[in-house]
């Protein structure tokens, strides 16, 4: 066991981890952060996406021990002051049904809008290409993101 320090959604947290502990499991089971989901467990589906130092990653493919001293953010950390514009827009456009993919998809969309505030439809599609959704057919997700851009 090694004690590591991770800034989780703005709060400094200490946690004991083994080298083979995966970040996703540590977030969910040891730190109580439940928005990242366990989906494919091999980096294909995007349900576990979180931001590490501002960049989206697949938390199912990161060893928690790698994150010592780093800033990890999930959508809980994007909505500290109430729901973000993206979250509101996802609700308005019915952009999820079961909701399993939504936290990861919003993480990807948030990263896109931070780097590129006025993305084209194609750029939106590319940004969320690694977030699989089996309910919506993606149209309502893209519309929700476009709606946020138009309001800016």
């Amino acid at each position: 066991m090694k004690k590591i320090s991770i800034k989780v959604n703005g709060e400094n947290r200490f946690v004991h981890v083994e080298p083979n502990d995966i970040l996703l499991d540590v977030l969910r089971d040891k730190l109580g952060v439940k928005s990242p989901k366990s989906g494919c467990e091999r980096g294909d589906c995007g349900a576990c996406a979180v931001l590490i130092n501002g960049e989206s990653v697949r938390s199912c493919l990161v060893f928690a021990i790698e994150c010592d001293g780093m800033d990890v953010r999930s959508i809980e950390g994007l909505s500290e002051n109430g729901l973000s514009d993206l979250q509101e827009s996802f609700i308005k456009h019915n952009s999820f049904q079961c909701g399993f993919c939504a936290p990861g998809t919003i993480i990807s969309a948030a990263e896109l809008l931070k780097e590129n505030p006025k993305p084209s439809r194609e750029e939106i599609q590319e940004a969320i290409a690694g977030n699989l959704c089996r309910c919506t057919g993606y149209e309502s997700i893209i519309e929700a993101i476009e709606d946020v851009i138009e309001k800016k």
Partner: protein, 295 residues
């Protein structure tokens, strides 16, 4: 998903320290950079390293330098940092274009080009780009350093000429003199993240010289030398391209798997040759050509 296999985790700060560890543990150690392959392989019990050496603490491996027509990228260069680099986009378009087709943003933020060639799966998108630029790989071990030509690097699916006590330091691409144009074409099952069923990189140089490389249609990425020799000095007329397409069967050896059949891979690889040649030629003339994905 909990991992049952236990290992030790080491995060050295220097290359020298890393080489000491590699010398001590050799094949019992695995290098961790982005981990997008390594974590999957450990999870699925495909590999069981005793020691995992995380090299992300070594700052000197993060550099991208373009000097004297040679582009050298450090072992920690991620696909995302490659895509953000304007010089790579301008001078090594096929490399840049291939990087944009790798998996998804969340993978590209972590995955490194060095990791891609160390994993050496046959469908690796970075293969053709490195092949057409006559890339070489610089590796170090405790007793010294050597350069390995990219054509000697791949020796089989998931097999490279890197020795267990060696660390990949950097990959260098050589930009030929004169005006060039290039293109990467990838066949996926859909637009968005997918592995290549066939991939082709084409580089068109001055004096009608052509360099062509395929991935995903053989055990390792290859340079299509027979096609290159046939096209040498020729204009890309419809007839010439038709003749060149016939040679594809002598160059590649696709297999059937879950993603497509060998017959389809063979057929589409011919189509991709024509499209990639035409786009690379237009780009050499200075035209801005957007390369649509093949679906």
């Amino acid at each position: 998903m909990a991992i049952s296999h236990e290992f030790e985790y080491i995060k050295p700060k220097t290359i020298e320290e890393t080489l000491e560890f590699l010398d001590k543990y050799k094949e019992k150690a695995k290098i961790l950079a982005g981990g997008t392959d390594l974590a999957v392989w450990i999870k699925e019990d495909m590999i069981k390293p005793e020691v995992v050496i995380d090299i992300k603490g070594i700052e000197s491996l993060k550099s991208i330098v373009f000097d004297n027509n040679i582009l050298t990228i450090g072992a920690l260069t991620t696909f995302s940092s490659l895509i953000r680099n304007k010089e790579i986009k301008k001078y090594f378009e096929v490399f840049w274009e291939a990087a944009t087709t790798v998996a998804s943003v969340g993978i590209r933020n972590r995955a490194t080009v060095a990791g891609n060639i160390c994993s050496a799966v046959p469908s690796l998108d970075s293969g053709p780009a490195l092949m057409v630029y006559d890339a070489f790989v610089t590796v170090k071990c405790k007793s010294g350093q050597r350069d390995i030509l990219i054509t000697d690097w791949f020796i089989g699916p998931k097999k490279t000429s890197l020795k267990p006590n060696e660390l990949l330091i950097s990959i260098s691409l050589v930009l030929p003199n004169g005006k060039s144009g290039s293109c990467y074409k990838k066949l996926g099952r859909y637009k968005g993240e997918d592995l290549a069923q066939s991939g082709i990189g084409v580089l068109v140089l001055e004096n009608k010289k052509y360099r062509i490389s395929y991935c995903a249609v053989g055990p390792v990425p290859i340079r299509a030398k027979k096609i290159e020799a046939f096209l040498d000095g020729k204009d890309l007329s419809e007839n010439t391209i038709k003749e060149a397409q016939k040679l594809v069967e002598q160059e590649i050896s696709p297999i059937s798997d879950i993603r497509s059949s060998k017959e389809y891979r063979m057929q589409i690889s011919k189509v991709m040759l024509e499209r990639a040649l035409k786009i690379a030629e237009s780009r050499q003339k200075g035209e801005l050509v957007h390369s649509e994905p093949i679906l």
